[in-house]
C-alpha cells in the first residue's frame, strides 16, 4: 500500500503530470465569472480550451456539438427548491434555453443550449433567486444530496436539513473546497431507507441515534464511474452539531494528500480508502481533530423508497425520464408549494392537499407506474459529448414496452440506463443496468448496443452489478429484457425483488430467460 511518507509526491510532480492541477493554479476557475464580459466581447471562437474547462466550476459544460452553447447545472442542496426559485429556473430555460429542463440523480436541474452572451443575465437571475451553480461541475463539492422527505417523513430519525444547509453554505463556492483532487460527492440523510444512496457517495452521513442523541454514522469511499466502489463504514458516530466539522476534516485530509493529485484516474476518495482503509482514515481524522469518536456501525437498511403518490403532507410525482419543460416548472411554481427533487429524477411537492388534478393538468400525472417513476436514464443523446447511444429515448421505449406487456406487474423493477461508463444514471446499482456501447453488424456498419448489468443494488449492503450480457444490439434489447422480466414476474416468490430473483438464479438460467449467451466475463 502506497501510504508511507516516503512515497508522497512533490507538488512539482503533481504539476508536471496533471494539467488540471496546473490550470487551477494558473488562474482560479471560480474567478472566470469575472472574465465573462471579456470572453463574450472576444467571441466564443476565441475562448481558450482552458477557460472552457474553468467554466465547469460554474456548472457549465459544452453541449454537443461543441460550437458555442452550454449546459447549465443548478445546485439544489438536498433537492429543495422554493416556488420562486423554480419559477426563475423555468424562466431562464424559456428565455435563454429551449424551454427544457432535466432533473438529475444528484437532485440538480440542468438546462441546455445557453449561449455565452446570455450568461451574465443567467447568473443575475440565479443570484436574484438565491440559486447557485458554484461547484456544480469541476473539482468541487458537488450538490449535497438528501432524502426528499427531510422534515416531512413521519418515520425519519430527525430532520437533517439544517446540517445540509450548513454544509452547503460553507462549502459551495468556497475557494479551498473548490480545489479538491476531483469532484467530491456528499449525501446527508436521516431517513429510514437509503433513497439518497449514501453507499455510492464519497461521504455519506447517515442519521443514527446513540443513547437517544441525534447524530450520524459515516460512510466513506463510495462512487461509481469506471471503477465502482460501495462506500465503507468509517466506524464512528458523530453528534449532529459536529457533523460539518467532521465532514470538513475528511475533506481536509483528502485535499492535502498529494498522492491523489498526480493522476485524475486515482483522484477520488475511494482510492484513498482502498489504500488505507476506513480505519486509516478514521485515525487521521481523530488525530487531526485531537479527539476520538465513539465506535459505531450502521445497521442494514431496506431498499430505497421512491416516495411516489399522494401522502399525508406530500405528493410524489413521477417525472418520466426526468424531463420537464420551462412552462411546467413555472406552472408548478404557480401552485405555490415547495418542491423537492429526488435521486430518481422525480419530484415531491410539499402539500397537505391532494393536488393530483392540478398536476395532471400540468402534464405530470401522479398515477404513472412505479416502473416509470423508478426508471433513470442519463442525459445522453443528443446533448452529451460522451454518450455513444440513445439514453432517455431508449428508456422511454423500454418503459412503454414493459408497461404494455406486464402492466403494474413490473412495478418495483428499477431500470438504470447510461450512454457511457461514467454512470450518471447509476447503471452499476440498478436491478437491470444498461450501459451504451457499439457493435459492428455483418456489413461492418456501426450499431448502437447495450451491456446489461444484473445483481446491482442500493440496499445496505449495496452491490455492484456485473455485465452479464454484453454488446446486445439495440434491436435485440427488448427481447432480452422482456425475457428476464417475464422470468421474474412468473417465477418470483410473493413480494420477491428482482435482485433477489437474480441472486438465486444461476447465470445460465438468466441467459436462458434472456435468450442470449452470457459474457465470459472476469472469471477467464
Amino acid at each position: 500500500m502506497a501510504s508511507t511518507a516516503r512515497d508522497a509526491p512533490t507538488l512539482d510532480l503533481v504539476l508536471k503530470r496533471n494539467s488540471v492541477e496546473r490550470l487551477k493554479r494558473e488562474k482560479s476557475p471560480l474567478g472566470i465569472l469575472d472574465e465573462l464580459p471579456a470572453l463574450i466581447a472576444g467571441g466564443y471562437e476565441q475562448v481558450p480550451e482552458e477557460d472552457i474547462v474553468r467554466l465547469k466550476w460554474w456548472g457549465l459544460y459544452h453541449d454537443k456539438p461543441k460550437i458555442g452553447t452550454f449546459m447549465l447545472r443548478i445546485k439544489l442542496a438536498g433537492g429543495i427548491v422554493t416556488p420562486a426559485q423554480l419559477r426563475a429556473i423555468g424562466e431562464i430555460s424559456n428565455v435563454h434555453g429551449r424551454g427544457e429542463g432535466e432533473l438529475t440523480t444528484r437532485q440538480n436541474v440542468q438546462l441546455h443550449y445557453l449561449e455565452l452572451g446570455a450568461l451574465p443575465d443567467v447568473f443575475e437571475r440565479l443570484e436574484a433567486a438565491s440559486l447557485t451553480s458554484a461547484g456544480a461541475c469541476g473539482d468541487t463539492v458537488r450538490n449535497i444530496t438528501g432524502c426528499p422527505l427531510a422534515g416531512l417523513a413521519h418515520d425519519e430519525l430527525f430532520d437533517p436539513t439544517p446540517v445540509i444547509e450548513e454544509a452547503a453554505a460553507f462549502l459551495y463556492g468556497h475557494p479551498t473546497y473548490s480545489d479538491l483532487p476531483r469532484k467530491h460527492k456528499i449525501s446527508i440523510t436521516a431517513c429510514t431507507d437509503s433513497c439518497a444512496a449514501p453507499e455510492i457517495n464519497c461521504i455519506g452521513l447517515v442519521g443514527a441515534l446513540r443513547n437517544g442523541e441525534e447524530g450520524f454514522g459515516v460512510l466513506v469511499g463510495g462512487g461509481l464511474s469506471s471503477v465502482p466502489r460501495i462506500a465503507r463504514d468509517l466506524g464512528i458516530w458523530v453528534p449532529k452539531d459536529e457533523a460539518v466539522t467532521v465532514l470538513v476534516a475528511i475533506l481536509d485530509e483528502w485535499r492535502e494528500d498529494l498522492r491523489y493529485r498526480v493522476s485524475r484516474v486515482k483522484a477520488r476518495l475511494k482510492f484513498m480508502i482502498d489504500d488505507i482503509g476506513p480505519e486509516g482514515l478514521r485515525a487521521r481524522i481523530e488525530a487531526r481533530l485531537g479527539r476520538c469518536f465513539p465506535d459505531f456501525t450502521l445497521p442494514p437498511a431496506p431498499p430505497p423508497g421512491n416516495h411516489l403518490g399522494v401522502h399525508d403532507g406530500y405528493v410524489g410525482v413521477p417525472v418520466h425520464l426526468g424531463l420537464v419543460t420551462g412552462d411546467q416548472m413555472i406552472a408548478l411554481a404557480d401552485l405555490g408549494h415547495e418542491v423537492r427533487l429526488t435521486r430518481q429524477q422525480n419530484l415531491v411537492v410539499v402539500t397537505g392537499d391532494d393536488i393530483s388534478a392540478e398536476l395532471e393538468r400540468i402534464g405530470l400525472p401522479v398515477d404513472a407506474s412505479a416502473l416509470r417513476g423508478d426508471a433513470i436514464a442519463c442525459t445522453g443523446e443528443p446533448h452529451c459529448n460522451f454518450s455513444v447511444t440513445e439514453t432517455k429515448t431508449r428508456m422511454d421505449s423500454l418503459v412503454r414496452l414493459l408497461e404494455d406487456r406486464f402492466g403494474r406487474e413490473a412495478d418495483g423493477l428499477r431500470l438504470h440506463l447510461d450512454g457511457c461508463p461514467h454512470a450518471c444514471a447509476q447503471h452499476w446499482v440498478g436491478d437491470l443496468g444498461f450501459q451504451g456501447t457499439t457493435v459492428r453488424d455483418e456489413e461492418g456498419r456501426r450499431r448502437q448496443a447495450y451491456d446489461i448489468f444484473v445483481r446491482g443494488s442500493l440496499d445496505r449492503p449495496a452491490a455492484i452489478g456485473r455485465p452479464l450480457f454484453r454488446r446486445v444490439p439495440t434491436e435485440e434489447l427488448d427481447e432480452a429484457v422482456v425475457g428476464l422480466v417475464q422470468g421474474w414476474v412468473g417465477g418470483r416468490a410473493a413480494g420477491e425483488t428482482f435482485r433477489s430473483f437474480c441472486d438465486r438464479s444461476s447465470d445460465d438460467e438468466l441467459a436462458q430467460l434472456a435468450g442470449r449467451e452470457i459474457s465470459v466475463g472476469r472469471a477467464a
Binding site: 461543441k66 469506471s226 493522476s263 486515482k266 461508463p421 451491456d451
Partner: protein
C-alpha cells in the same frame, strides 16, 4: 470472441493498477494478452515513434497501422521509409480510404473541399481518416494509441486501459497517457529515433499536407491546423486526433452518421 475476456469492471481495475507504471509494462501486458489481434495506431508523430520502438523490442511482429489519407506530406512518407529501414521486420499496415467513396466526394465537392466550409472539412476527415480507421478497428480485439493527458485541457483523465465503446467495445490502450510532450521528445532524442522532418521546419502537429502549416514561436497552436476556419467545434482545432473518439461524436452531430 476473446475480447469478451475484458469487461468494464476489469478494465477499470487495470487502469488503476497501471497508474505510475512505465509504458512498456502496459505494452508487454497487452501484447501478451491480445496478440495477434492487437495493433498500434500511429500518425508518425513523436508519440507514435516511441510506441513503435518500445513495442518492436517486445515483439517485432506486432502490427502497426496508420491511415494513409492520400494527402499526407512527402516528409511523412519519407519517415515511413526510414522506419522500414530502422525496423526490418516491421509489420506495418497502411490503411487507405475507400476508393469509390473518395472519388464520389471529390467528384461532388472538388479535391480541396475542406477550405470551403467546416462541414466539408469534417466530411473529408470522415472519408479519408475516420472510416478507414473504424474499418480497420473492426478486425481487432485491442488497439494502442499515443494519446497523452497533456494534449488537451479537457482530456486529463485518459486511462491506460479502456473499453472503447465508440468502436465495438474493443480494448483501447493508452500507454503514454502519463507522459508529457517533453518526455516524448526526450525519448526520441535519447534513442535516436527517426522523426518527421517537418518538426524541424516549425510544425507542431502533423496531419494532412493541405490542412497543416508551421507556426511561429508564440503563435497560438491553433494557427497550425485548419487556420482558415471559424465556427469549428472546440477541441478539434488543435490536436484533432482521430483516436479520441471525440471527432466522431462531432461528425455524427454535424455531418450525420458515419455509414
Amino acid at each position: 470472441m476473446s475480447v469478451e475476456l475484458l469487461d468494464d469492471l476489469e478494465a477499470g481495475e487495470l487502469s488503476v493498477e497501471f497508474e505510475g507504471e512505465e509504458p512498456e509494462a502496459v505494452l508487454e501486458w497487452a501484447i501478451e494478452r491480445f496478440a495477434p489481434r492487437i495493433s498500434i495506431s500511429t500518425a508518425f508523430q513523436y508519440d507514435g515513434a516511441v510506441l513503435l520502438h518500445m513495442a518492436y523490442a517486445i515483439d517485432p511482429s506486432v502490427e502497426v497501422f496508420s491511415v494513409d489519407t492520400g494527402r499526407l506530406p512527402q516528409e511523412t512518407y519519407d519517415l515511413i521509409e526510414a522506419m522500414r529501414e530502422r525496423y526490418p521486420e516491421l509489420n506495418l499496415q497502411l490503411v487507405s480510404p475507400d476508393a469509390a467513396t473518395t472519388s464520389a466526394m471529390v467528384g461532388k465537392h472538388g479535391p480541396n473541399l475542406f477550405y470551403r466550409s467546416v462541414e466539408n472539412r469534417l466530411l473529408c476527415c470522415q472519408v479519408r481518416k475516420v472510416l478507414p480507421l473504424t474499418r480497420h478497428l473492426a478486425g481487432l480485439d485491442a488497439w494502442i494509441t499515443g494519446l497523452r493527458r497533456d494534449q488537451w485541457a479537457t482530456r486529463s483523465d485518459i486511462r491506460k486501459v479502456e473499453i472503447d465503446h465508440d468502436h465495438g467495445a474493443i480494448v483501447k490502450l493508452n500507454p503514454l497517457a502519463e507522459w508529457t510532450e517533453e518526455e516524448t521528445r526526450d525519448y526520441v532524442r535519447q534513442h535516436d529515433l527517426p522523426y518527421n522532418a517537418l518538426y524541424d521546419k516549425g510544425f507542431t502537429s502533423i496531419g494532412c499536407a493541405p490542412c497543416t502549416r508551421p507556426t511561429q514561436a508564440g503563435e497560438d497552436l491553433r494557427a497550425g491546423r485548419w487556420w482558415w476556419e471559424t465556427n469549428a467545434p472546440k477541441e478539434c482545432g488543435i490536436h484533432c486526433a482521430i483516436e479520441t473518439g471525440g471527432l466522431e461524436h462531432e461528425l455524427r452531430a454535424l455531418v450525420g452518421d458515419d455509414d
